[in-house]
């Protein structure tokens, strides 16, 4: 029986309880034995991406110490947070130190949720049913940093009853960008409104993404636009019956 540890991410933790519950249910249904380590907080990406590398180290150490308690793979519902750990943690510590060795170890066994399903468990059909018109927003770090180009779509396409419609500018940033959204709110607004305009024009009633950050941004934007279109994390789609 495969074992794994849940990495719930700080945004998931604060805003998406039911998504995390669904992540637990799906993985357990697929036979994964899960553990959850309550010492986890945030991967530190907000600090790292804003230039505070020194301050990031302490946050990364908290993360690494928490997940070092087990050598099981780590699964998170965000390509961005997972990408931070996978691609940037090793660069935070000096080569040859025990911290660096731990960072490399953790980086080698962390997976984004859809990546774990498709590449590790080799599953695309999780038995979900969702009779709706659905479109997909490819999140930037998920797509470019993690290089996950087909995983989400193959999972979406396996959902029964679902009709997929393409999204114009699918791979264009939604304007979230972490702290960017509060650093330059007006630019973030223009980008978000452009994304919302494209989502509405797609004719879908649901837009799927693999990032809690993009989800918050697009869902809020759709709400502002008075649209009934649902912005949904892919986990919640895959949990639909």
């Amino acid at each position: 029986m495969p074992k794994a540890q849940l990495f719930i991410t700080c945004l998931g933790d604060q805003f998406y309880t039911s998504t995390l519950q669904n992540m637990t249910h799906i993985l357990e249904r697929l036979g994964v034995e899960l553990t959850f380590l309550p010492e986890q907080t945030c991967c530190g990406q907000p600090l790292f991406n804003n230039g505070f590398e020194d301050k990031t180290r302490a946050v990364a150490l908290n993360f690494m110490r928490a997940f070092a308690k087990s050598d099981a793979p780590i699964i998170g519902p965000s390509g961005s947070c997972v990408g931070m750990v996978k691609h940037h943690y090793p660069s935070l510590f000096k080569e040859g130190t025990s911290e660096h060795a731990l960072a490399v170890d953790i980086a080698s066994r962390i997976f984004e949720f859809t990546e774990y399903l498709v590449s590790v468990l080799k599953v695309t059909d999780v038995g979900a049913v969702y009779p709706h018109k659905v479109t997909y927003h490819a999140s930037c770090h998920y797509l470019r940093e993690m290089g996950l180009k087909t995983e989400a779509k193959s999972l979406i396409n396996a959902v029964k009853g679902l009709e997929f419609v393409p999204l114009n500018e699918e791979e264009t940033c939604c304007g979230f960008g972490g702290a960017f959204t509060v650093t330059y709110p007006e630019v973030s607004r223009s980008m978000m409104e452009n994304k919302v305009k494209n989502i509405i024009a797609s004719g879908a009633d649901t837009v799927i993404t693999c990032e809690p950050g993009c989800l918050m941004n697009m869902a809020g934007g759709l709400h502002n636009a008075g649209s009934n279109i649902r912005a949904m994390h892919i986990i919640d789609l895959l949990a639909s019956k």
Partner: protein, 490 residues
């Protein structure tokens, strides 16, 4: 009428003291994003079509990247070779350490040759050093002959895009500028506007004593200046007057003609979606003794202006690999929504966001490295594989915590916020305690299930879109569930 914001307005003409990206971004003229998006989307489509035709595109990019990397790491060698070759071809070489030096050198050459009028081919280097203003101040008429540059010269602004300097203007705005400047009734028809410019400029080509150009590449092997243009004006500027002065950044040097074949394949495809620009010119020295055409004197002004300082930074120096195609701007969702003036300097878009802070310092341009969501679209299209997001993060580190090149320049309140965040995220009991109490504030701001109108700093989020309610219940749920499971298994 276009009106760059107060701060950036000053910048377009002088050395700025501070670049206010945020201030500008809050006052972007409504016409700019639509004009910019219309043009850049066309380029993006054209580029994608050209790339799809070339199965070896990724190998070409890699070759381009490798050659540029090699060149910037051996720049002294290639510049020395270049200088020797230009001299032996009968040209003159001038080394300009600063923008002021470059302006002085060009003015000196103009004075020695009694120049009254100069025609200019499109050049980012002369935009960088503000040459037009210097020439005007010295009583020399300098006329931009690239249509886009001519338009922004009339408008009195800098370029808002590397290859399409007037991309922010709609044809109606151009017609209004022509009408006002030339005292005619110009129609808003692009072909007619080009005809008017052509007639006006023809006169200047025939009378100018000096031609000024930039350069796309400098081939060290033979001392050859390479210029690519689409309008043919570059050829007029560099062949009709008896005097040709080229102002070129030292980073434009490439080893040899074989390298050039790689860059010519990459450049036009990345820039405009063309296989090749309409005109590609190779200039090696002035007119030969037995030659019939070309200028009698050729001067190459090699511009440093901070480049050798950038070379000392092993991460930041990759910006010097740039071949100025503008592809990064064309795909950048930030650039497409704010336009080029937001970047407050001669070069805009993602490449501007990593070059300007290195040229002018992070005290002046500390906002620019943050003018990106780090989406990475730029790095995907860069023909020479400049790791733009990596350099953006590198410069953010310079701003936030300082490095061997600069003191930190991040305002104290943001540093303090980062301190608090680091504390809460590193000490997990603080984080967990915070997560438990945050839902308490929900009722005060909740409307239709969303949080709105929140106090600073969350107001920066809720002014644009509402926030989901805080609901950190997973941890509790997990605990209850684990306890129950233990109960049943026992």
């Amino acid at each position: 009428m276009l009106r760059p914001c107060r701060v950036n307005d000053i910048i377009m003409t002088n050395t700025p003291t501070y670049i206010g990206f945020e201030e500008y971004s809050e006052h972007v003229p409504a016409s700019i994003p639509s004009a910019v998006q219309q043009a850049t989307n066309r380029f993006v489509g054209g580029r994608a079509a050209r790339v799809a035709e070339l199965p070896q595109w990724e190998q070409l990019r890699q070759a381009g990247s490798d050659i540029r990397q090699h060149t910037i790491e051996n720049m002294d060698v290639y510049l020395t070779r270049l200088e020797q070759k230009v001299l032996s071809a009968g040209g003159n070489v001038h080394w300009a350490e600063t923008a002021a030096d470059a302006r002085r050198i060009v003015l000196q050459i103009a004075k020695e040759n009694n120049v009254k009028t100069a025609v200019k081919s499109k050049s980012m280097a002369t935009e960088e050093i503000g040459l037009n203003h210097a020439l005007e101040a010295a009583g020399i008429e300098a006329i931009e002959t690239d249509l886009g540059e001519y338009i922004i010269q009339i408008a009195g602004t800098g370029p808002s895009h590397i290859i399409v300097p007037a991309v922010h203007l709609k044809k109606e705005e151009v017609a209004a500028l022509f009408s006002k400047h030339l005292g005619i009734d110009a129609p808003s028809d692009p072909i007619e506007l080009a005809r008017i410019a052509r007639e006006t400029l023809r006169e200047k080509f025939l009378t100018a004593e000096m031609g000024i150009s930039g350069g796309n590449f400098l081939i060290a092997e033979t001392g050859t200046l390479v210029i690519v243009t689409n309008e043919g004006n570059g050829r007029m500027c560099t062949t009709m007057p008896d005097l040709h002065v080229a102002v070129v950044g030292i980073d434009k040097v490439i080893p040899d003609w074989e390298s050039l074949t790689v860059f010519l394949k990459l450049l036009a495809r990345s820039a405009t979606g063309q296989k090749l620009s309409t005109y590609t010119q190779f200039i090696t020295g002035p007119r030969r003794a037995d030659g019939e055409f070309g200028p009698k004197e050729f001067h190459l002004v090699l511009l440093d202006n901070g480049r050798s300082k950038i070379l000392k930074d092993p991460v930041g120096r990759d910006v010097l690999k740039c071949i100025r195609c503008g592809a990064c701007a064309n795909v950048c969702p930030v650039y497409k929504n704010v336009g080029g003036f937001a970047y407050g300097s001669f070069i805009s878009g993602p490449i501007g966001a990593i070059l300007t802070p290195q040229m002018l310092g992070t005290q002046t341009a500390r906002e620019l490295p943050y003018a990106s969501t780090l989406c990475g679209a730029c790095a995907d299209v860069c023909p020479v594989k400049i790791p733009i997001p990596t350099i953006l993060r590198h410069l953010r580190r310079r701003v936030a915590q300082g490095d061997e090149f600069s003191e930190p320049s991040m305002p104290a309140p943001i540093r303090f916020t980062a301190d608090l965040a680091a504390l809460a995220l590193a000490w997990n009991w603080i984080y967990r305690f915070g997560a438990r109490i945050l839902p308490i504030i929900n009722p005060f701001f909740r409307r239709d299930g969303w949080l709105t109108g929140m106090p600073y700093p969350l107001s920066r989020w809720t002014k644009v879109r509402p926030l989901p309610a805080f609901s950190a219940r997973f941890r509790q749920w997990w605990n209850v569930r684990s306890t129950k499971e233990k109960g049943t298994t026992r």
